[in-house]
Symmetry: C2
Amino acid sequence: MSKTNDRPKARTDTRGEETRRRLIEAGLDVFGLYSFEGATTRMLADRAGVNLAAIPYYFDGKEGLYRVVVEHVAAGIGERMLPAVERIDAVLANDELSHGQLLDLLHGLLERFAAMLIGSKEPEKWARIIIREQMQPTEAFDILYRSPMRLILDRCAVLVGRLLGRPADDPDILIRAFTLLGQILVFRMAREAALRTLGCHQFDDSHVAAIQAVVREQTERLFASDPGGGS
Amino acid sequence: MSKTNDRPKARTDTRGEETRRRLIEAGLDVFGLYSFEGATTRMLADRAGVNLAAIPYYFDGKEGLYRVVVEHVAAGIGERMLPAVERIDAVLANDELSHGQLLDLLHGLLERFAAMLIGSKEPEKWARIIIREQMQPTEAFDILYRSPMRLILDRCAVLVGRLLGRPADDPDILIRAFTLLGQILVFRMAREAALRTLGCHQFDDSHVAAIQAVVREQTERLFASDPGGGS
DNA sequence: GTCTATAGTCGGATAGAC
DNA sequence: GTCTATCCGACTATAGAC
């Protein structure tokens, strides 16, 4: 019989790469569900369908795998938010913007944030890892904070600052930016309570749309105060 | 020498009660810091200054202690929010209220919520336990949801509903209530990120006041839309 | 009621065959 | 590169002395 493992022409180390990939995938699930301490190497290896010994071999132990998983999360969030962030940066670089233009950028950022956080499937796993790092930051928190969190928070603060005519590093402006994001984050962070209250088992597109609509309307109200300056 | 353990007149089981109390106190710290799985009976017993075997003896095991700790958390939150909640219930029972009165009640609720969640010391421990239950609800989640969470959320929804002239169980109203609470919750849930962004190591009274001021102003704005109806 | 000692289980990491 | 077998440490719970 012709064996099926005639080496694929592309590369000989595909096997190892595949093992790495599957362990990271498993790490997203398992670390998210059971936390770093709660996760066992046996769970990780079983879920990945690889051998237990592959963890110390490829990642220098459970801790090393965790770090790589967190980096994966940071990269995933960055990827999803990048379009909105780049658009903001591009427009902000220009010149003095109208109230409406700034508000549009803010709407876009928050909408994208909500879509990513509440709607998509992958962030479900990401969120749990992030929340745990918020409660009990390990050295991996830096990875999350410096890249994807600041990415979003900074832009939010800049926009709020411009809308209110104050610098983006004013503590009051930072607090306002946080509350804006908090309106959305709560549906992820207090997810179980939100689901029970709304009487459903998971958020679908219509829920996301409803939340986005509320946030948009409320954001509009919060910054619609320029006297007499309607649309 | 007169022995010191001549039985105290009040009760003979004081010793056991003390042990129970100390284990619950230790559970608040340790379960919050390390989660249920991460906490070990040794940590719990050491922190409580009692013997390891006291845990299965008094609480029927680690799991039983956890349940009692969660009940303790629920009771603590209920206690702290009760004044604001009772005031709301008393006033709402009356009759048709003015926009300003409803808004005052909402301000009171949110202010108290912020004070409890961000300012006080104990909720620091409570919050971690609650957040973990949100992510990975155990049977203990019911205890938290049915008593202290609904306590606050229901009142918030009722007030928002009355302010907007819609029923409190309208999904849109529930979403709005959630976003209001989210503005505050974010400082607890994304605490580490908030602290880093504001450049401090913990929230003090001035931070709490600043957050309360922002929330108050924004809430005012969100519901100040009744046309022509100034204060 | 409280403690010490221990049983029984499961954790992560490694050695060495394939 | 991957697997099996195994070590060693840490965990929860219990038994029985005090």
